[in-house]
């Protein structure tokens, strides 16, 4: 399984991370080295082994649907980098994505 600089660029886009070309090359080198090491797990036979996603013996934890206090709007907006009229402000989104 060969990972290329192009794949790393695509991953950076999926992860919504901006890199300089130089940074990207360094990450690419490190990812090649790390994934090469991690690929060691492929030597294990895991046929018929179920995957573990959570370690607890708890499934579908339910609770009563009782209404309670929620975070007031002004509290929720307190840490916003930009807000106005009681809303979070974001740049224009009505544009085609590249």
């Amino acid at each position: 399984m060969k990972i290329t600089l192009e794949i790393v660029k695509h991953i950076a886009h999926l992860a919504r991370l901006e890199f300089s070309e130089e940074e990207l090359k360094q990450f690419y080198q490190q990812m090649v080295e790390l994934l090469d090491h991690f690929a060691r797990i492929s030597e294990l036979d895991t046929e018929n082994v179920p995957p573990t996603s959570g370690i607890l013996p708890l499934y579908n934890v339910m609770r009563e649907d009782n209404p309670g206090p929620t975070l007031p709007r002004e509290e929720a907006l307190k840490n916003a980098p930009e807000e106005g009229s009681g809303f979070f402000k974001i740049p224009t989104i009505l544009e085609a994505e590249d």
Binding site: R40, L44, T46, I55, K78, N79, T92
Partner: protein, 489 residues
Amino acid sequence: MIFQPAHKILREIRERNLSPVEVVQATLEWAQKLEGKLRSFLVLDPEGALAKALMLEEKLKKGEEVGPLAGIPVAVKDNICTRRMTTTCGSRILENFLPPYDATVVEKLERAGAIIIGKTNCDEFAMGSSTENSAFFKTANPWDIERVPGGSSGGSATSVASYQVFLALGSDTGGSVRQPASFCGIFGMKPTYGRVSRYGLVAFASSLDQIGTFARNVPDLALLTEVISGHDPRDSTSLPEPVPSYSKELDSPAGTLRIGVPRDLLQEGLTPEVKEAFEDALKIFERAGFAIEEISLPHASYGIPTYYLIAPAEASANLARYDGIRFGLRAKGEENLISLYKKTRGEGFGAEVKRRIMLGTFALSLGYRDAFYVKAQKVRTLISQDFQKAFRKVGLIALPTSPTLPFKLGEKVQDPLSMYMSDLYTIPISLAGLPAISIPIALKNGLPVGMQIVGPALSESLIFKASYLFERESGLSNLKPPIVEELSA
């Protein structure tokens, strides 16, 4: 006074021989004196701490009920939410973040009367083994200020080891409480996954994250752990089982007396100093009445690749929330939403966090998911099963905490793989969700060495008892690093 164990100070406060204000003032004075050299804290809050101490004093005067930690100064890792202090996770992206709520463990500490004096430095979003990945500054190891305190809860470990506080909270995803406890010569407990509520702990890898505790002796550690444990309706992954009084059970018999040692893991990567200290510690356990037995954990050596696929995959999803919209940093001057996300995250995250988001996104991406992420989840099952089999033979398992002595600042920071290897012995336990403590077992070349005692799920009480027997047999507790001796002389 500040060099006394917390359980003695508590008695003095309850008997009115000491006041919480005296304790807090003396602690703050000492903490500030050491802070210039060690830099454990991202925030110190002397005014808030003194105000709490005064309130407690009023309650004591009136003869009102005070909690089990009344008047004890504590520190909290900066990835645990506090309403009255910023919570940055050691990251630029949360530099000015003031949470609108307290974590459940913070509420529990305050209800117990503990006095939170500050928030401690850590690797950014708890990703690291040296605290060097903090976006703000590095923390020193009190045993040698040119060495790392371990990580990611390095600030909490240093603050306890240098007597800046009596107790501290950290978080442990792959060893971030145990390894710094070992590097700083103190005790650190990672409870069973789900034993402590994660509500208000900033998420890194949700199937592994667990809040843990630091202290300089077992009775103090047991007390702090019982205060923060228990079910929380706000965390559906917290366990419903009642919490035993770990501190009161310390003196009852340990019962099972067999400790397993996975000798197959003690080969590659283990340095001679740590190996020697570990073997000597096993002899101390034998002297204390334990039988040492060889066991095997055949898949544990696959722990590092397994963990470094699963934890980054979960992190890549958890850290998607830092988008520059609702809180935290926002990059300037971007007019397109996608480029705003990219630039904000590019500026706000440090190299290690980006590396893990990239690894995790890769492991989850189309065409690679089965070979990396799902494969790792299956190996996780095998690692868990190894432990289950071992616990049919023995009651507890012993392992070194770190394969090396504390390393120098800057030594590993450019080499991610060698940094990841320092989690060799802590990671398999995290993957299996088991409780484990790190206890000090020796000083080698003037540096502390730690050992882990691991038990089955919810065996915290047994782990504390065994550790307490060791502590009394070895005399290795309440250790004073040279810098503490010098500055207190």
